[in-house]
Symmetry: D2
Subunit: 358 residues, 4 copies
């Protein structure tokens, strides 16, 4: 495969450039007979759109999705589901000045080295706008995954070093519901306020900020994942690392385990099941039936308004300032994208599991 | 695919259980005409074997590899290369007592939930012994990758919280050569001594320790990796997370970027190229031509000699102590495995790149 | 994969139903820097449209193709090429009467058994209209294949038993050019006239006719195809058999060799190369550098105007007459589809070959 | 993938050369809990071995198979099943004289063009001996397929133009049982006698003969096969065409349909189901629940004892006579291979179907 398809059985192929006519996804392998309304996909896309939060751009895409195939009388037919989102508010002129320049932190240089040419309008295929297609496809995957009893929720864990108070927070049994009340998808309203403040300050500096997203899968049955290479955590790591902004992925206690002892990390069992979940819901690559817990570390958006040193295609040194309509922080908009990628990975492994059961 | 095959063009399928007659790998897609001697594979397997270090087990496998196909008169033929390593020192009796018990931190429970049965001898397919086949295949991948100018070296970055002094160390231009001088594959001899001491102490406690491995790819050409899902970092993350012991993967500055600003993280360029490498050699999923830098966080080996609470297949509570011949720390033996997985991912993307170039 | 994607490196995913809003293809893996104009794709689609010949339907689709991604300033970018063809003249009302009936020779029954439901409008995904997407993708593949020196031409070999005079015909060195002069894509004008006559007669009877298409690949380099399962002829057989109407595929002398001796079938060589081509350009699954010669045997279109016995979804016996706008013979419209499938298979193997060469 | 792996879920990778140390197969994706004894595999390999029939070679391989992984206490574990068959009676010296010569009808020339080198001993990977691994894997697939109610039987349909009397034969309801009574796997004893006679005559001439094998799948449930590219018949065509000797594949009435009318070819239905089976059990690429009927046309074995004109690697003209131990006709030994390939294709689609069902 050539890199734009995800999955073995629930296969999603995405296409489209930031400033081309449209973006889209084709989902091949969705079982027949699942109820699917265009509004369900639209709702997820709306969550990905720039919000009122301090973190967001002013590019005003409506992101209306159309279902072009694979659904008949409100149900999936088992044949490929083609989803299309037209690009309406593309303003390529913003990029004209930078068309032969490699913006630091972007894919400009590497695409040029790989392909010998590139679509410089808004980053082309390397734009964050590409994730529209992932979110649309993820909405379909959510229907499959939910039918199997699973629910995937991502939320902001930290921005620019400001972290949620996980422990305090999780004493409220309904804490997860707070995620959707918040324009930063942050379940901790105090932390969220501090984040908004910090984002405003950094925006004024012309700079940007990184952050951490946590993803929680509830209701996952035991037995998902394949041994050796296609372990559930391996595929989740790939799914999440394939998001342009992600530079590290953790499962369960993640990095922390490296400085601990076996007696601390092992999760004992009693008659009720596991007594804790350091493993993050996956053992030997296969789900345990506990919550799956994942964290991704996102770099700051590279499009900053400050002057930067770089070179152009002829190797000449250039000082640039990136204009255009950019977010200050990839969080919260990356939150629905993280959900989408986890959903795509789970939907695929769910179908694979069904195939393997006698 | 069913989880035991890696790669799109340079495809490695592994097979074998800890206490079965043998383990092996079949490599399909290795180009013809590459010189390959059995000793080159053996050398890598020898690096993976238990060493004299304080970290290692006393299971005394010779791990002699045989090439059964795909090599003729010392050269690869382009047809599948079948590698086989016989199991000689398997002592299944050690496991007899635990055959219906789920050892904490192991795949016993999840395999049983997934398959409805399991080969309980030494963890079966979930055993760390499975990595013998990865290392053997990695040795072949190394020939392909090296012919393209790349060199992959992994080393111990920390054990149980004791870290190498990266900065001081890297002032010596030959620092990387020190890795192979050391039974812990640790380039910092001072840190290494402290690690050995700590390992001995923990062994006496009947406990185990986690650690961090860093992997460095030098000489990687720009342009490797596919956009969107099969990004170079996404495939590397999967490759490394597929190692049973790994719970987190970082690229470049990894987790740190999440609390930083764009102006700090972006790597500017001048006429000589990039002036720093926060990105770890990959931008938008495609290699920049700089060093690729990766880190993996390994959990402590779950087989501890201390008593642990668990249950058996009938749900009855059991207190167990895991006997058998086990390492105290998965590092250093995981070091060659990390190299192997990075090699498999690079070899595959190198062939994919060749296909894509006009 | 879930059946709607072709290829390992040059990957084509098609989607769309006969009476849905549109059909399309996404091509992932097309190398960057290939000149591609929408007119080149349109031209192939126009060849597939109903012609003035006696064989064709009166459904008047314009089949205007749009390129939605992957092409920038007239060149492919290396990212997915999304092609879309809107359905304009769908008249689902024709099918309303048959919505719960299994039309003989169609996929109605099998889709219903497989999916538990089906899009009954015009056959849904099982319609011959699905091949629009194949032909569009094939036009892109043609650019890749042609750049490698190959030319693929299909033509009518027989209709309803009336066969071209191959031997006589091929004495004219320019015989192949005659294929495009002819609304039946038949290089033998005499045979073509007889075919037209026969088609008119059969149309009057309310019946349909089968036929044979021959496909010729010129300029194919030696060395394409992989050993064992992905032999060049195996992939070509799959490519062609995946066309709904095809019931047999031959390579080279095909069926005839089964009643011959080795001394007759073997192709000897002299200093100029092979002295004949019984093998059809493929030996041990790998191209010889000679012309590739393939033949497919197409069944008559199952939509006949005569009364037929069948059952409906509740098992009740029904006598039906299929109305709607149908061709009398799948040939000539299948001719560009055969070319497209061979082109897709060749483009993929061409890229695979590039990857394998040192 | 690189050509030596079959399947999406039930994946078989084969390896090995004619005169290397061994051949083998790794099956990844076989469900856990299937009873599997080594004798079951051995029995199929014994059917493939040279028989007492007039058609066979004198190479005396015992073809003892070993199961190296994936089976525990007589049951499959869900992990890869590694099968190995050692080469015992390889006599490479027979081939020494021909090591730089391209034997007509063999893969010598194409392998050399593809790989720039080749293992000339007995044809290397291109040898018919490669099918040992297919038959071994097919025996495992048979267990999966049989558990789903399917039975696959292949038999000799014709040799050198001498055909079985299908109609007369099939009046006996037990006709299929006669296949295994016969060293030519020919259910028609009269035809079989004539074939033996013809084979003896041709052997004396130093020549070889082609033939036709028919494959029958009974008990196949409706709904197997994927729309568009991975149609059941498309995958079966590929499976069969991937056998080196096969030059044409037919489904159901095959070639005949091309000269018929729709009213003759369509299979009507009544309350009992289909009233005939021209389609060969597959409509629109999906199984109907009827018998699947396939025919393959095999070329004569190219290793003839008569003098042949060819060239060597330096382009020099050579007259050769192929010595060595060769069959006169690839039938009957190809019969179990045809079964194996159909079994591999069915096992894979059976698992795919399970994944797709809600």
């Amino acid at each position: 495969m050539s890199g734009n398809t995800w999955g073995t059985l629930f296969c999603t192929t995405t296409w489209g450039e930031s400033h081309g006519p449209a973006l889209g996804a084709v989902i091949d392998g969705c079982p027949a007979g699942i109820e699917l309304a265009v509004e369900e996909i639209q709702r997820e896309l709306d969550r990905r759109r720039p919000s009122a939060s301090a973190a967001s751009t002013s590019r005003a895409e409506k992101d209306r999705v159309e279902i072009l195939s694979g659904v008949f009388e409100g149900q999936t037919t088992g044949t490929p589901i083609s989803l299309l989102v037209a690009n309406a508010d593309a303003q390529s002129s913003h990029y004209e000045d930078l068309k032969d320049v490699f913006r630091p932190g972007h894919g400009d240089y590497t695409y040029w080295k790989k392909y010998g040419m590139r679509d410089w309008r808004g980053g082309g295929r390397a734009s964050g706008r590409e994730t529209v297609a992932r979110v649309a496809a993820g909405a379909v995957a959510r229907k499959v995954v939910r039918a199997a009893g699973m629910e995937v929720t991502a939320y902001t864990h930290s921005i620019g070093g400001i972290e949620i108070s996980s422990k305090a927070l999780k004493q409220d049994p309904h804490w997860l519901e707070k995620v959707r009340e918040n324009s930063l998808y942050c379940p901790d309203s105090q932390a969220s306020a501090a984040m908004e403040e910090r984002l405003s300050a950094v925006r004024k500096e012309g700079d940007t900020l990184g952050g951490v997203v946590e993803i929680l899968v509830r209701g996952c049955p035991a037995g998902l994942g394949e041994p050796v290479f296609d372990k559930m955590d391996a595929d989740l790591a790939k799914a999440l690392m394939s998001i342009g902004t992600v530079k590290a992925v953790e499962v369960g206690d993640g990095c922390e385990v490296a400085s601990k002892k076996g007696s601390e990390v092992n999760d004992p069992m009693d008659a009720e099941g596991f007594v804790k979940n350091s493993a993050g819901g996956i053992l030997a690559g296969i789900t345990t039936g506990q919550d799956i817990v994942l964290r991704v570390y996102c770099k700051p958006i590279p499009s900053i308004a400050l002057p930067q040193q770089t070179v152009d295609e002829s190797g000449r040194q250039r000082s640039i300032q990136v204009v255009g309509r950019h977010d200050v922080c990839v969080i919260p908009r990356i939150v629905p994208v993280c959900e989408a990628m986890v959903l795509l990975a789970l939907a695929d492994h769910w179908l694979r599991r069904k195939a393997g059961v006698r």
